[in-house]
């Protein structure tokens, strides 16, 4: 038995693969659920109801999907160029930190400029932070996986330092949290009396622009060429390094925007537990989406649903909501397997 590359992939297979991978992940995770003493069908029913069952649940899922779309885009575009940015978690926090620095009036700006500046500052912070690992990779050949991973820890400590230092809310009674973001700097709500905010629109716009950028611009062509075959791209006269650098900046900016949405749209202030691993989950989102910017939206909504649903199921029957992390991690591995099926056929 051996694997033989497919000449072309049927379109239905590209849709079926992620769906199959998601279902397989849910099936595999039935085992730990059962071992934890849960009634598996009931647990999954509660998860489904808790994620899309009511209007409120649906808005919660979409609220969670917003940062996941952005971190998913961050991973998707970087992985397409074979730039392994595993630092979205840190870039997200830096984006949030910049948003707070501008949005709480720590840096003085006139009111009408505040919101655009918050968004730009957040994206810029994420992008500039990604510049470091990218430069080390391109200039010195330092593997960016390790540098981006390690930089996540550096950023979290830096955020802690800022929240106990210059950015600490004087009214917080010593808690490491920032002052609330001013009203003019906050992203408006999309639906009244829910937590759904304008960050979702921002994320959707980013996904569409990324898609257009990849399909319709010269940069997108160069990106696809570098990702498909770096040697051929170089031979064709594409400046591989410049493409990689742009990809790094774009990837970091997306992750930074995710942080902006979370503080300026959802929480209103920055704490050290802003993100429950959205940066890492973005890798799963991108893989499930087969690195396609539009499918990132769908897979982000799925992953968000798993998290929101698991929280709600956990409240109802008391099984730890870490089952969501387990399902998401399993989905990453099953999707890698499903990706094989789309690219290869099995021959005897």
């Amino acid at each position: 038995m051996r694997l033989e590359p497919r000449a072309s992939t049927a379109p239905w297979l590209n849709v079926a693969a992620p769906l199959g991978a998601a279902l397989l992940a849910l099936l595999i995770c039935a085992l730990p659920l059962a071992l934890a003493g849960a009634d598996v069908p009931e647990a999954y029913r509660l998860m489904l109801a808790g994620s899309v069952g009511t209007r409120f649940a649906l808005t919660e899922t979409l609220t969670r999907a917003a940062p996941l779309i952005l971190t998913g885009l961050a991973a998707a575009i970087a992985f397409r160029a074979r730039l392994w940015n595993i630092g979205a978690e840190g870039q997200l926090y830096l984006g949030a930190l910049a948003a707070v620095a501008v949005g709480t009036g720590f840096v003085p700006v006139p009111g009408f400029l505040l919101l655009p500046l918050v968004v730009v500052a957040g994206a810029l912070a994420g992008a500039l932070w990604m510049l470091g690992p990218a430069w080390l990779r391109l200039r010195f050949g330092v593997d960016e996986v390790v540098t981006t991973l390690l930089s996540n820890f550096i950023v979290l400590l830096f955020v802690g330092m800022m929240l106990e230092g210059p950015l600490q809310d004087p009214m917080s009674l010593g808690w490491p949290q920032s002052a609330p973001i001013l009203d003019e700097a906050s992203l408006p709500k999309l639906v009244e009396r829910t937590r759904l905010h304008f960050g979702l629109v921002l994320a959707l716009a980013a996904a569409i622009l990324t898609w257009l950028g990849i399909q319709r611009t010269r940069f997108g062509f160069e990106l696809r060429a570098v990702g498909a075959n770096p040697d051929a791209a170089r031979f064709a006269g594409i400046a591989e390094r410049r493409v990689m650098l742009k990809v790094a900046l774009f990837s970091g900016a997306m992750a930074g925007l995710a942080g902006v949405g979370e503080v300026a749209g959802l929480k209103g202030y920055l704490t050290q537990d802003l993100s429950p691993g959205y940066g890492y989950a973005g890798i799963v989102v991108a893989t499930l989406a087969q690195l396609g910017p539009v499918s990132v939206v769908a897979s982000a909504i799925f992953i968000a649903g798993v998290f929101v649903g698991a929280d709600s199921m956990s409240r109802a029957i008391g099984v730890s909501s870490y089952i969501a992390n387990l399902i998401v991690a399993t989905a990453l591995l099953t999707m890698l397997l499903a990706g094989l099926v789309t690219r290869y056929r099995i021959r005897r």
Partner: protein
């Protein structure tokens, strides 16, 4: 207290060894995987589940050494999964490794929460006690340092010459290195590249898990969330720093341990003048610097991250 005074304290060197121990296990484990040609980014998660499971088994009543063995077996299990996905199936070693880390750490957290749903303080176990041979205790200066170490630290130190011997002096080591340098040549010698690579990943992952278990069974006596806190990633940097050579891995881990022990003591001296987070950042910054210094000179195993397909050149 000045720098010299710190360096002359037995407690400083004892701490250095203690901090270095999990790094020695992890770095040697990653080194075995990479020498066979497989990058294992599952290390962070495997250390986490090693820490959790080792502690859990001891908490449930098995003795400490059985706990270590069971943690190693679970580590090897995750190694098998990583090996199967990346070696015969040739999946991206980067993404698969991150997947293994997410899977192993979420499984550890899920299991912990399911078994102990509402404990506020983590339950404790009776950890390994310090032990050292009498003749070593009698040596001036070294004695007090050795007196604070547990059996696991001695095991870690003993593994370094053992692994060097296996890698450079046995047919198995030659086979493993050939798989990482030139799998086609290995296959031509009648070796099964798949079996050797998967075996190497399993053995390496078992060591990573023991490194994690050291945290809960020796360095501390309980399991905390996020307790591995990037040690796995630091090990990956240390492997590059060590140029894939076991004794240099030991050197790297000890330097790192000394640095970490030093910054903790420096923190106490400098006190409130400098935010403590700056000190905590240093290990991560150091790892990046170590990579930067060594990246150019590093003699990467030639077939690292290149999946081998039988019958294809």
């Amino acid at each position: 207290m000045d720098v010299l005074e710190i360096l002359l304290q037995a407690s400083f060197w004892a701490a250095t060894l203690r901090i270095a121990t999990p790094l020695i296990f992890g770095t040697l484990g990653e080194l075995i995987c990479e020498r066979a040609g497989v990058l294992n980014l599952g290390i962070e998660g495997i250390m986490t589940i090693g820490a959790m499971s080792g502690w859990l088994f001891v908490f449930l009543g098995v003795d400490l050494w059985t706990g270590i063995l069971l943690a190693a077996a679970i580590g090897a299990g995750f190694g098998l999964l990583h090996g199967l996905l990346t070696v015969p199936l040739g999946l991206s070693q980067h993404v698969t490794g991150i997947g293994i880390t997410l899977l192993a750490s979420s499984l550890a957290y899920f299991t912990y929460r399911v078994l102990l749903p509402d404990v506020a303080t983590p339950p404790r176990i009776e950890p390994f006690q310090p032990m050292a041979p009498d003749w070593l205790l009698a040596v001036p200066f070294l004695g007090p340092v050795a007196a604070q170490q547990t059996a696991l630290t001695w095991l870690a130190l003993g593994l370094v010459p053992l692994l060097s011997w296996v890698l450079y002096r046995t047919p198995l080591g030659l086979a493993l290195r050939t798989c990482g340098e030139n799998p086609v040549a290995a296959e031509a010698q009648g070796l099964d590249v798949y079996v050797i690579r998967i075996g190497a990943v399993m053995a390496g992952s078992a060591l990573m898990a023991v490194g994690g278990a050291f945290l809960t069974l020796s360095a501390f006596n309980a399991f905390f969330f996020e307790m591995v806190s990037g040690r796995g990633w630091i090990c990956i940097a240390l492997v590059v720093f060590a140029s894939w050579i076991p004794w240099k891995a030991l050197l790297g881990a000890l330097l790192f341990g000394a640095f970490d022990a030093f910054q903790v003591r420096l923190q106490q001296v400098v006190g409130g003048a400098v935010p403590y987070q700056l000190f905590l950042m240093l290990p991560y910054v150091m790892s990046i610097l170590a990579l930067l210094v060594m990246a150019r000179r590093a003699a990467y195993p030639q077939a690292l991250m290149r999946p081998y397909v039988k019958g294809q050149r």
